[in-house]
Subunit: 403 residues, 2 copies
């Protein structure tokens, strides 16, 4: 055997070409600036409450520091099943659940199962950039299906989704309520997507992590957004990714779960084994506590988001240079500034001129490149200050006459 | 577009074909048995000491519960660099380190970078089964290069390694000291492997996590096993995977690190982003504490392993039916029972007849299928009892006349 004369030390293209996050650029630009109000990241501003912290501390002190069940503590998987019964009225067997290192790890494993080189995955866009990244790292090709933006908000055109299916399509990654747009599928949307999946033998990977952060009165009355579990039947190939991050103020804990048809259990057990080898048991104790004793916390988080939404939507509307239909769900304002299609540059300018950190829409792919994303799961006083700062400079930065 | 008449709902072969761990079968068989002495898993029996538990508890109480740096806290990456200077006498820049969800996540990311469909990775065998799994999940093909077993222990034949290189070979995964064999590469072995890598443009992924668990007098005098960093030069393409699990009794914390050439930093940042999105900051505080204040603990762990090794090696040798050259390093006895090449069946019998849980060599691939692995980083009294139990039944179970 003789190797190449000039050794290649090759790097796999799917690793090398994973796109950097466009949010990180603004985040890095703003790092270290005093008095910046950081609204670019998708997390609240409250640390995890004491009762959850104490649950983890106790488990640590009790010596739960050994290797544990690859798919999660049986007690946690049972607590997740109880939670599903309570929130979705669904009887889901614990053997459908796998505890993961955050929702991202759940999404990554789902992608590894459904798509690889040569495959395509449909993603309504604009979308959280990590969906695109997870598909690319799996070696597959993400295919953006643009949502339509109108005065009443974002909408998915089912015909457009159907037209994007090719013989290479393997799955649809459906995030509803959506980050960053707040788009929330109706029950009819979900039934239509499911019918399309059945017709073509496509997987659905459903990210419904914002299901309880609803603000539109109809959704508030229902207590949650419509879910694929409202329309699916036994045998449908739907996976759900979930996270403890948002509902229970646990972003930094890296705890989530993946729900799959039960026959995938052994495959997922191996994927866990060969990626993270499980989730710390002492963190899982806090997760059980969140599910069983965290309802008041969830209600507080939702109320905080709803108050933030009112402050931001009313304050930005008053500038008269912002296009922002109030999002029906989730906790993001995703808005355009008149005459400014260059969101990346505008986001950098707003760091300098307003002292407010926003995520550029260019980070979220097709259909949102002219937008900015603002996270409103934050202290109301801080949001009022941020809106006041934006209101001072946006009329200057907007160019209503330009286009 | 028309899909297939009978939808396929396809599952990617690299996900579906990831092999189950052969250790788990025995573990599951023994679950719930009273009085079983569990020596099949590669971890010690002491929970994480209080000073590390308290570091995590304090960080939790201080509210370090938010998203954090994708590649790890800068303070931790600096602590890792200090640790490298102390143990290996190596000046390594912190920008070569990425904090990971255990050594497994580090190994997985390394594999994603160097190998994919159509590629081959050489692995001296017997080997920790997760190496094989990580290569397969990346879509690549593991190629076992059998170590030679002799009366003086295990040995790597460099000619055999070189002969296994093909145009598809992309990397060599070198675990020294090795799990399960204890094989420890000499400096000359490492220089030879490195020369081979340079000649063919191959990556080296080095797992030296047992570097400090050395028992052979020459290694003890050196304070650690030989390392690729003793022979490599600037520009060599070597990655190191590391873990907090073994040295600091933190198996269940899922904390490790990956060391790479610095130009891979942005690629690894993306792979972290799209797999786990970082490691909990409050756990990283304990990791800093382990590196900066944990030397006494490491010394205790090594002494415990060395005492366990003496108990197990002497006790099993006295049965006269066991072939076990004392391992120069790590904390595993990897031994054959005369006339019993069927390690899987023997491991199950030993659960029933001796009340001792051992890992079957069949789980570790070619070259070790007739062996059993016993972890001796355990309470000396418990190990004495385990050896006494084995000594009672092994002469019965062995078949010296059979082959």
């Amino acid at each position: 055997m003789t190797g190449p004369a000039a050794p290649a030390f090759s790097i796999r293209p799917e690793a090398a070409e994973a796109p950097p996050s466009g949010i990180v650029e603004v985040f890095s630009y703003a790092r270290g600036r005093e008095d910046l109000i950081p609204l670019y990241v998708g997390e609240g501003d409250l640390p995890t409450p004491g009762f959850l912290v104490e649950a983890a501390q106790s488990a640590l002190a009790a010596g739960e520091t050994f290797y544990t069940w690859q798919r999660g503590l049986p007690e946690l998987r049972e607590a997740i099943a109880r939670y599903h019964a309570r929130v979705w009225g669904a009887q889901v067997s614990p053997d459908r659940f796998t505890v993961t290192i955050g929702g991202m790890h759940a999404t990554q494993m789902a992608m590894r199962i459904v798509a690889g080189p040569g495959d395509e995955v449909l993603i309504p866009s604009p979308a959280w950039p990590n969906f695109d990244g997870a598909v690319r790292v799996a070696g597959a090709a993400p295919v953006a299906v643009p949502l339509s933006a109108g005065p009443a908000g974002w909408r998915l055109d089912l015909g457009r989704l159907a037209a994007a299916v090719t013989p290479r399509t393997r799955a649809m990654l459906i995030n509803s309520p959506a980050n960053p747009t707040g788009w929330t599928a109706t029950r009819e949307d979900l039934a239509g997507i499911l019918a399309l999946a059945r017709r073509h033998g496509l997987w659905i990977v459903a990210d419904e992590i914002y299901a309880r952060f609803v603000h539109d009165p109809v959704l508030v009355a229902a207590g949650r957004s419509p879910s694929f579990r409202d329309v699916m039947e036994e045998g449908d190939r739907v996976m759900f990714v979930q996270t403890f991050s948002k509902n229970w103020a646990m972003t930094g804990w890296r705890l989530g779960w993946l729900e799959t048809p039960p026959d995938l259990g052994p495959i997922i057990e191996n994927l866990v084994q060969y990626s993270t080898s499980g989730v710390p048991a002492f963190l899982q104790r806090a997760a059980i506590c969140a599910l069983d004793e965290g309802e008041e916390l969830v209600a507080d988080q939702i109320a905080r988001a709803r108050r933030g939404r009112a402050i931001v939507c009313e304050g930005l509307a008053a500038t008269n240079v912002v296009d922002l239909p109030p999002p029906p769900a989730a906790f993001y304002a995703f808005f355009r500034v008149l005459g400014r299609p260059d969101s990346r540059r505008l986001a950098l300018e707003l760091v300098d001129r307003a002292g407010v950190g926003l995520a550029p829409g260019s980070a979220f792919g097709e259909g949102g490149t002219a937008h900015l994303r603002l996270c409103f799961l934050r202290d109301p006083g801080q949001l009022e200050e941020a809106v006041a700062r934006l209101a001072r400079v946006l009329p200057d930065l907007a160019r209503p006459q330009a286009n």
